[in-house]
Amino acid sequence: METIKLRYPVEGGDFIGAGEASSQMKMTLKKLGLPSDVVRRAAICMYEGEINMVIHADGGSAEVEVDLDQITLRMIDHGPGIPNLGKAMEEGFSTAGPEVRSLGFGAGMGLPNMKRYSDAMEIDTQVGRGTTVTMRIRIG
């Protein structure tokens, strides 16, 4: 069975457009008839990933692969990378500046939520080169 691939560009600094990729992906997943909890978890992972790239990486791209038994979400950016991954995974830790926080973002829940709502998450990051976060969600 051939994989369905979706790809969405995410623009840096675009807080208004963030969520667009999530909306489009959700509609596709609903058309495919995936269970609603799977759709919801994928939506949360996607939205948090989008916001992360908007805030920290001047954008990037979100890639989705849908197979019969799992969804793979890949957030790919060429931003500054994550120097301290352990710290970044702590709830409430954020390097977002005051402007971003004043908009209601940067609460330090992005990566923890992505880990929580996916079945597996891998982060491949290099300082100065960029970050790729890969999440898998099993379709029960």
Partner: protein
């Protein structure tokens, strides 16, 4: 599924206005006329508002439909009170309704107050709790946001509660059998007309029919002009009357962290956000398909903003909560749904996931070949929806004007679509 939204084929010219404005992509033009995909329609009334030929109507009973009952009860929506400006206060309107042939009136505004009092604490779903007051929104959630079904408060509509109360009280007073009493809602929108016939949260209908505020207004203006001097008091207070517009329900409920969202596109956007786990600080959500809430329903006469102003003026003299006249305050057991909302997967491509994926791929391939102009000439709202229609067997490739010229080859654009640099 029986919808109240109907297309008058004698008037429909087959233009593409409605298909473009339908928030659930539920309309297509076929053989030169609009047709509704019943499983996708939520009766929001968007098409009724935009149709330039006035060809789309909600199928509402004419007022004389009440004559099949000797004993009649009116259940007016509070939006009705905002339609008359300085011409009439609520008491005169209620007296007018009686003169039209209703022996009893049970006001939705009053039952909204009673429901609010009893709904509190009955709703233990995840946050934010979503109000169940707009039937178009309930249907939207069932079709497109199944994960949010648990957020909906399982509380019946004020008009449904009023109807149950009315039938009980009037049967007791008159000695008639409950089915001999005709209980009719006076409604501001197509969604409530549908809800009367087929309630979202109740296993059985509790109303016998629905009349539109529009039709009633015309009759009422005539009746009230020959004022008989009778004056009735509203059973509702200002808080119940304010549920006719967005924000009123939150105020009535004393909800603190609440949002009132109006307009179907805004509602969809909000539901998307909730689904993505955003808006975590919100506890209670009012969602209204129409602008400004029920005063914006397509069966009203007055402009929604003006109606809201009228309602505020009318309610200024009333206490916050009304009294229990007309039997509405008697004991009652349960105000909750008797049927749970079920996911209705109208957008799913196929029951079988592998088949759905296969169809999705074919849609993708076809959509790539389409011009992406969303011209609507094929009868679908956009190229993607057309590709889906083809794969689902609802349309054929030849329906696209760009496919027609050369079989299976997208042809060049007609002159009107060409940009200057392409010519």
């Amino acid at each position: 599924m029986e919808h109240s939204v109907h297309i008058d084929l004698a008037r429909c010219r087959g233009c593409t206005t409605c298909i473009k404005n339908c928030p659930t992509e539920a309309i297509r033009v076929r053989d030169g006329q609009a047709a509704i995909l019943a499983d996708r329609c939520i009766d929001c009334g968007s098409c009724i508002r935009v149709c330039p030929h006035r060809a789309i109507h909600p199928a509402v009973e004419p007022l004389k439909g009440m004559e099949r009952f000797a004993c009649r009860v009116a259940v007016p929506d509070p939006a009705l009170y905002g339609q008359f400006g300085q011409m009439a206060d609520i008491g005169q309107i209620l007296a007018g309704i009686k003169q039209l042939g209703f022996q009893y009136i049970f006001e939705s505004a009053r039952s909204a107050e009673l429901l609010a009092r009893h709904a509190r604490g009955k709703c233990e779903g995840p946050l934010p709790r979503i109000s169940s007051s707009c039937p178009a929104v309930l249907r939207l959630i069932r079709l497109r946001f199944p994960h949010l079904i648990d957020h909906v408060e399982p509380v019946m509509l004020p008009m449904e509660f009023a109807a149950i109360q009315a039938r009980r009280a009037v049967a007791e007073e008159t000695g008639l059998a409950p089915e001999e009493i005709g209980v009719f809602a006076i409604v501001p929108c197509a969604a409530k007309v549908t809800a009367v016939r087929r309630p979202e949260g109740l296993a059985q209908p509790v109303l016998d029919g629905a009349f539109s505020i529009q039709e009633l207004c015309l009759e009422l203006v005539r009746t009230m002009a020959q004022d008989q001097g009778e004056h009735l008091d509203t059973a509702a207070g200002s808080s119940g009357i304010f549920t006719a517009f967005a924000g009123g329900e939150s105020a009535l409920r004393g909800e603190r962290a609440s949002l009132a969202v109006d307009g179907i596109r805004n509602v969809i956007e909000m539901l998307e956000e909730i689904e993505d786990g955003r808006q975590s600080g919100v506890e209670f959500l009012e969602l209204w398909a129409c602008t400004q809430g029920c005063v914006g329903g397509c069966l009203n006469v007055e402009n929604p903003y003006v109606a809201r102003l009228h309602l505020s003026a009318l309610a200024a003299a009333l206490p916050g909560e009304g009294g229990g006249s007309m039997g509405a305050d008697q004991e009652w057991d349960d105000v909750t749904f008797t049927r749970t909302l079920q996911y209705s997967p109208a957008f799913r491509l196929d029951e079988d996931r592998a088949a759905a994926m296969e169809k999705y791929r074919r849609i993708d391939v076809l959509a790539e070949q389409l011009p992406g102009l969303h011209c609507g000439a094929c009868g679908a709202p956009n190229c993607r929806a057309f590709a889906e229609d083809v794969v689902q067997g609802r349309a054929s490739e030849g329906d696209c004007i760009f496919f027609q010229q050369e079989e299976n080859q997208p042809a060049g654009l007609p002159p009107s679509f060409l940009r200057r640099e392409d010519q």
